[in-house]
Symmetry: C2
Subunit: 289 residues, 2 copies
């Protein structure tokens, strides 16, 4: 199956699983807001879990849980990022953000519960042996927390009050936390499920994650809001340092392409079996949203 | 050791462990806000973890992790509860709330990272076998999420727009989620660590949790802000249904006392070894803050 077909099939499976699991919780506004926030998106992280699991011969009925865990965690981070006290965004995935559609209290709580749900999924009994479930929950917490995603967000806030634009090293460190840690966890998940070594998938994912963020910065300059599904030009307008402002548009594109090559090469030991992951890396820098 | 001495010793141990673990993350404002939010408090939940572990002969070096997990989770819930869009409180444990001392973005992120940290602790390698770590993480997620604590908070928000005060059954269900689920998890933790049956500790904790909340409502009427360490009289002033408004002050005190007896009786099979937990139940309705 080609990468776009595979991504579409995986996204549909993740979408259905998330909706069914959240639907079990009833229909209070907070629950409906959780379901709404968990809808849509590219599902690249969930795909990485499912594809790395396939690469290791792990049953999809086990892998769907960590795939939904990372998508629930990603959804929580977006809901909280969009809050008025954070990025104050009205639009996400082409629809009103949760605090615009409901209110701030509902957005805070729905985000909180989506994070909790991520750990419920990671440690779910159907994932497999206790050691694997504990390993997934622990590594997800480390990727999401104060040494991973939240560290990236904290560095982002600190940058705004620093009085000077970030350097390339600083923005790379920021993005390694903010975006990279969860992408790395996603790609490692298949090896973790199989109890196998995660090194090759980590190297792949670190290059992929950085390419992904550079592509995001390029989209922020080249994209339009209708296609991208969220506000564009905000970072450049706010005078924030981005990979484009630091490397130039062409330089950023070259760097992203080099990183994709690096990501593909890291999977050498997997042979042809990893071609779908290689296609995913190429997709990341060619996407329009 | 008497209960007050035991609680003080456990609180000091939890305080030191939390401070050391959070200290590892550096000194960005978000990290300092996490440490600040994790300071102080009665540590009743952490004590329940450590004491139920002692009751089952579990080493304190293992039990300290879930004890800190529940305290980190509790701290996150307080930071987010205090936000302007939620309860809008300026004072917590006698000090400025996180969003007053820093800002809302820092409070959202610090709360988020404290929740993540709770799962890092629950699944920590030093907790023991994988099955136990996975069981603790999964049960903590279920207690904290959309069928536990967040459900209670969602019911609380729904009550405000319901146009009528809650009934006794409704407020009992609300509190079972909002406060009860985490207290139950705390008391069960010792049995989970030992791979033992959790039923007796659950029955104890359900009665204790409800008594705890009734005592909170009594304090809201009888206490003063300086002793309680947060605003008092808010619920009564806002016309919200509380156990005191529904049962009367004397009725609420009788109900709390009956629940403490029920909690103590539930531990019958543990004999004298559970006396410290019984004293904890009595403490809950006699406390002044």
């Amino acid at each position: 199956m080609s990468f776009p077909d595979r991504l579409a099939a995986d996204a549909a499976r993740i979408e259905a699983h998330l909706a069914a699991e959240i639907g079990r919780f009833g229909d209070l506004p907070v629950i409906r807001a959780m379901a709404y926030a968990a809808e849509g998106g590219k599902r690249l992280r969930g795909f990485l879990v499912l594809e790395s699991a396939r690469l290791h011969g792990v049953d999809g009925a086990r892998a769907i849980w960590p795939a939904c865990a990372i998508e629930a965690l990603h959804a929580y981070s977006l809901v909280h990022d969009d809050l008025p006290c954070m990025d104050d965004d009205d639009l996400r995935r082409g629809r009103p953000t949760v605090h615009r559609k409901w209110d701030e209290a509902t957005a805070v709580l729905a985000g909180d519960a989506l994070q909790t749900l991520a750990f419920e999924f990671a440690a779910h009994p159907e994932v497999g042996p206790g050691e694997v479930r504990a390993d997934l929950a622990l590594s997800l917490a480390r990727a999401a927390g104060a040494q991973g995603m939240v560290l990236g967000q904290a560095l982002d806030i600190a940058a705004e009050t620093a009085g000077r634009p970030l350097t390339l090293d600083e923005i790379t460190a920021l993005q390694a936390g903010k975006t990279g840690a969860l992408i790395e966890w996603s790609a490692q998940a298949g090896a973790r499920l199989a109890g196998a070594d995660t090194a090759a998938l980590s190297a792949y994912a670190r290059a992929l994650g950085l390419a992904f963020q550079i592509a995001d910065d390029i989209l922020d300059v080249e994209g339009d809001a209708a296609t991208v599904g969220k506000a564009v030009g905000k970072d450049a307008g706010a005078g924030k340092a981005t990979f484009v402002s630091l490397l130039g548009l062409d330089g950023a594109k070259r760097r992203a392409a080099d990183l994709v090559t690096e990501a593909c090469d890291a999977l050498g030991a997997y042979g042809d079996g990893a071609d779908c992951l290689r296609d995913a890396a190429r997709f990341v820098i060619s996407r329009r949203h």
